[in-house]
């Protein structure tokens, strides 16, 4: 089972890289996009609302959330269990991260869906 999580950790890293590129492009290179006739200031109220209502973008946000949470918490768990403290409480550390991860994922997904006005 550990191998599956390990592979997902790497895969999540790769997917996050691609999604982050998209994010940086959308949020920080909008001036460039404006020049070629697309996009506008991403922080304008209309832009925020438009993105929130876009099903594809909302799905990507949820995926981003899932992979970011998994990648972050799995990496943190690996760092922690190499320390004396983490090793002593390995099971507790794993459970806490699972619970925290699931909670944050549900919370984030709910917020994303709600923001879209569903």
């Amino acid at each position: 089972m550990k191998a599956k999580y390990w592979i997902l950790h790497y895969l999540a890293g790769l997917i996050l890289f691609v999604l982050l590129l998209g994010h940086i492009f959308m949020m920080h290179f909008y001036k460039l996009m404006e020049k070629i006739g697309f996009g506008r200031d991403p922080l304008e109220w209309e832009s925020v609302l438009e993105r929130a209502r876009n099903v594809t973008l909302s799905t990507l946000y949820i995926l981003f959330l899932f992979f970011a949470l998994f990648h972050g918490f799995y990496g943190l768990k690996n760092i922690l269990i190499e320390t004396d403290f983490g090793k002593r409480y390995e099971k507790i550390v794993v459970y806490i991260f699972w619970i925290l991860g699931i909670f944050l994922f549900i919370f984030g997904t709910y917020t994303t869906i709600k923001a879209g006005g569903v």
Partner: protein, 269 residues
């Protein structure tokens, strides 16, 4: 040439923990082990160190010499002396028993965990082998490099994971796991992959590569670890099949020349 040896001393019953200095005359061809033995025999008989073969085979004399992991019996003083000084310390990342003697017990126990022997489904043949197993030279090359390990523990001294995680399976143990996994005579591939992919196993390697740099025998544990990860990846995606080990060599045919083989001479003793 006079050389000053700065040697780590640790004698728990005397609460001694520090460095002692000894200045000795070194001759051409002298190794660090020769110098340490000279000091032990002539200057301080309480100095503790471990050695056996004196020729880079037993793996007993691993230590940190002028900051680098080396085999003392394989290190020429002339080549490494800096400003007339040589600093000798025990291997870190292991419990220290005394002076230059680390406790390798935990590493040996981890080695035992990965079943460092040929696993065969036919337990009877495994327990009481009748003949050797077949193996081609190219099958031998699959693992040969990794079988040169002498368990000196120098790779442990330069592994950042071993330094923080005492449960980590250790670089050489993982290299040995790979060595048996790819042995064409072995049938314990999945069993071993299961063991090494547990927590504190091969997946916790940070790939710093220090182990390969430290190894005095060219084993390259970092390579074995990456290859082991590849096997795990393949197994997880169902792309790896459990191996069927090579068969045993058939009995030697009783050829027509058998009678021509001269008889052994009578016992002389």
């Amino acid at each position: 040439m006079k050389v000053k040896f700065i040697i780590k001393r640790y004698i728990p019953e005397l609460a001694k923990n520090g460095f002692d200095k000894f200045e000795i005359e070194v001759k051409e061809g002298m190794t660090v082990l020769d110098a340490l033995l000279y000091i032990k025999e002539n200057l301080d008989p309480t100095l503790s160190l471990r050695f056996s073969c004196r020729m880079g085979i037993c793996g007993s004399c691993g230590m940190i010499i002028n900051g680098k992991p080396e085999l003392a019996c394989h290190t020429q003083i002339k080549k490494i002396v800096e400003n007339g000084k040589i600093k000798v310390e025990p291997i870190p990342n292991l419990t220290l028993i005394r002076d230059l003697v680390p406790d390798l017990q935990s590493a040996f126990m981890k080695h035992k965990k990965i079943k460092p022997y040929l696993i065969r489904k036919d337990e009877k043949e495994q327990e009481s082998p009748t003949r050797e197993y077949k193996q081609t030279p190219s099958e031998l090359l699959e693992y040969l490099q990794f079988s040169y390990c002498i368990q000196c523990g120098l790779c442990i001294s330069s592994c950042p994971v071993s330094s923080t995680d005492e449960d980590f399976l250790e670089p050489y143990v993982l290299a040995q796991a790979y060595r048996y996994c790819v042995d064409s005579r072995d049938e314990g591939l999945f069993e071993r992959l299961e063991i090494v992919s547990k927590s504190h196993g091969v997946l916790n390697c940070h790939f710093a590569g220090g182990c390969s740099k430290a190894c005095p025998k060219g084993v390259d544990p970092a390579l074995a670890i990456q290859l082991l990860k590849r096997l795990i990846l393949k197994k997880t995606f169902g792309l790896l099949k459990e191996k069927k080990g090579n068969n045993i060599v058939p009995p030697y045919p009783e050829g027509p020349n058998k009678d021509k083989v001269p008889k052994a001479p009578p016992k002389s003793v």
